[in-house]
Symmetry: C4
Subunit: 239 residues, 4 copies
């Protein structure tokens, strides 16, 4: 029998939903999940709801086939297979974000590769694959609505921090909620800055070793970002 | 004798006015209407007022020639013929939005066609005509201020979800208030993303079949967007 | 002996200061004035203060040489000569705005002429001169700090609605506070849209006659904008 | 024995932290310091914290080798050597800002030089060096985490108002907190405007003498900006 997930983990997941909205990464669409801290064969995510509106009571536990552990009789995200199949394929992944952050969309539909323009997005140095759903399923609504589409996306991201999805959005992973949220926010910021820089001329990106060193360094700073992001969300709720 | 429109429909129309402002689709200009749910030969729209300021008491019923059913002795939108003539020509249309959303303006005055860059705007796959008022009326103030100009615009949009208006703005329609509002918001988002992507290089738009499938899929999700948009408007009113 | 200016005019001038800030036309710099409604040889403007902070007690009356009628012992805007010299040269001008609105700056330092991209900015059809202070005074701090520089700027704007100032900003005039504020806001919006459209390709601007008709039409709608702008300012003050 | 720093100086430093956040110059990263007003061999800066969250109790005094005068048992900014080494090398510098302001990043990684596009940023006329950390230390995490890297950055900025840092951000200095904050805000604004203007065509920047005169003139106006910026911060705290 599985134990209940840590209350602190659930609390962070609710806050993360609101942070992603406040920081412009998700609107009504997009979602974030976390692997269950007592049972790695489960993950937790909101029922079908805009992230900004998610509360404690909306969280649902799923197995890695993305079936709810307990049926709640309300709709789930149709793209929850993105989460389940990545957790299945990548044991080190603890959190997954799926979003349509505006600045990322152009990088999924043009030849420009997303590359690290500064140390804040050194994690992009690992390379950013682009998933084209046509390669797996031909003509679709673009949504990852089945286990096999989720598995195809999981193969595309492999062990990398993120994947762009052509004509759709992006998916980021992390070894913690904080890392996944950080990667979503700074991938979007990098996209915006890279777009501008490319219009200005040839861009000098971080060297591979610089990107790796910056990414490792950045891993020690999530608490500083999170303290600010969480305060913003709490202030907004109080208003 | 016509029955009173559903209170819930009127409530949604007031909220829709404020959502369009909050989401940056209208400023003091622009308007949204809904077809009367008890009498398809009528539609309901605010009197001449900035959408953000519209309340229950400002709603007026018009016949499809855009004459008020009951004269209220206050000015009406001079471009209400956009609404009346589209309702007349397209029985399936339940709601009409007219706006000058900033990101759409450049697409009405350049050779770039607005096309679906991602699944959220699959409805653009139906094609986006550009209405040039000169073709109908020569030199004007650009406003659709007469029944015949409204009828010309209705012919231009035909059975499509939206029409761009050269040097003016755009008009979107929907089978519900929610659909018309959704189309206005994501047409504007698509325009912003497409503009950026085109500056970066050749853009891979959704294939026709992908756009159609995505549009059909999107039709089932308006309640999720609306819940967020309505909450924002209510929070702003409370502050 | 001059009568006191109308309290309603003074109230509108205070609100206009805050609207220009709320709409992003001014930051701490920039100013708006109005011609005295009882004495056309005077104008009213705030003392040296960020527009957002201006209250009733900060308003000062100046003669058209930009000397204060009553010395208040606090600093005045060093560029008040922009206002005085335009009122002197153009009897029909009732209000003057000077600003550094971000989107206008690139149009003062490149070869692109600001032209009306849509009906909301039809007033640009009158033509937008660019004032280069070097032509009058050689090397300066760019500021219009003397009567003769003010007179040179007044000659540059002539009877037109606005003038761009190279490496500095812009000045707009109007037959009312509402018209001057409207022109500032939609000149800045036009600049932003035109910049984007020009990057996309050849732009079809309004024809001259369309621009003239649209400008005349727009003159009847200031109250609708103003109601919204004033409400925003009042809501912000209440928070 | 060193006296306590002026309470007013400490108060301004706390406010400056929040202004830099409110004006979009820093997010959770970035920092501002001030030289101790009773002991030029010391400077004051927050402990390791997002600037928006800094309060009086978070301020720490450092010697110019960036060792805390009194060990507080909490982490410090790892890049505090930027501050200490500039204070050591430039006796006239009273305040230092380090930031990753978005609009500045593209200018550190492309061939475009940041130049004064209008009078508000005349201080850029002094020239803006670009610091490339590779020239000093080869492959790094891009962070200025040692005294020798700080000294290299200090040599790069020399006696100029600011330095861009490739793939990282920028550092600005000032003869007061107000001047350093002003330079950060208007350097970022200039970058945004210059980027847009360059896409539109050839840009006419301020002449050298104009830039110098504008910078000198601007030095007398910090109080007007600061009054607005401080009010915004206070209003936000009250909400």
């Amino acid at each position: 029998m599985t134990q209940t997930a840590s209350p602190e983990l659930l609390r962070q997941l609710v806050i993360a939903n609101k942070i992603l909205y406040d920081q412009g990464i998700v609107d009504a669409m997009g979602h974030i999940s976390v692997r269950h801290d007592k049972d790695p064969e489960r993950y937790i995510m909101s029922r079908h709801l805009a992230p900004a509106l998610v509360g404690d009571a909306d969280l649902v536990a799923f197995d890695l086939d993305s079936n709810p552990i307990v049926e709640i009789g309300k709709p789930y995200y149709s793209e929850r297979f993105i989460h389940g199949e990545i957790y299945k394929a990548q044991p080190a992944v603890i959190s997954v974000v799926h979003c349509h952050a505006p600045s990322l969309i152009p990088f999924g539909v043009t030849k420009s590769s997303l590359r690290p323009i500064y140390h804040m997005s050194g994690f992009l140095g690992a390379g950013v694959p682009v998933f084209d759903i046509r390669g797996t399923a031909g003509m679709t609504s673009m949504l990852v609505r089945t286990p096999s589409l989720g598995a195809a996306l999981a193969r595309s991201i492999g062990d990398k921090p993120m994947v762009l999805m052509r004509g759709h959005g992006a998916t980021m992973v992390g070894g913690s909620i904080q890392q996944a949220v950080y990667r979503a926010i700074y991938a979007a910021m990098n996209a915006s800055l890279q777009m501008q820089a490319q219009l200005m001329g040839e861009v000098e990106f971080l060297a591979q070793e610089e990107a790796d060193l910056a990414a490792a360094q950045g891993d020690s700073t999530y608490h500083r970002h999170w303290a600010l992001w969480e305060k913003r969300v709490r202030d907004l709720e109080r208003m």
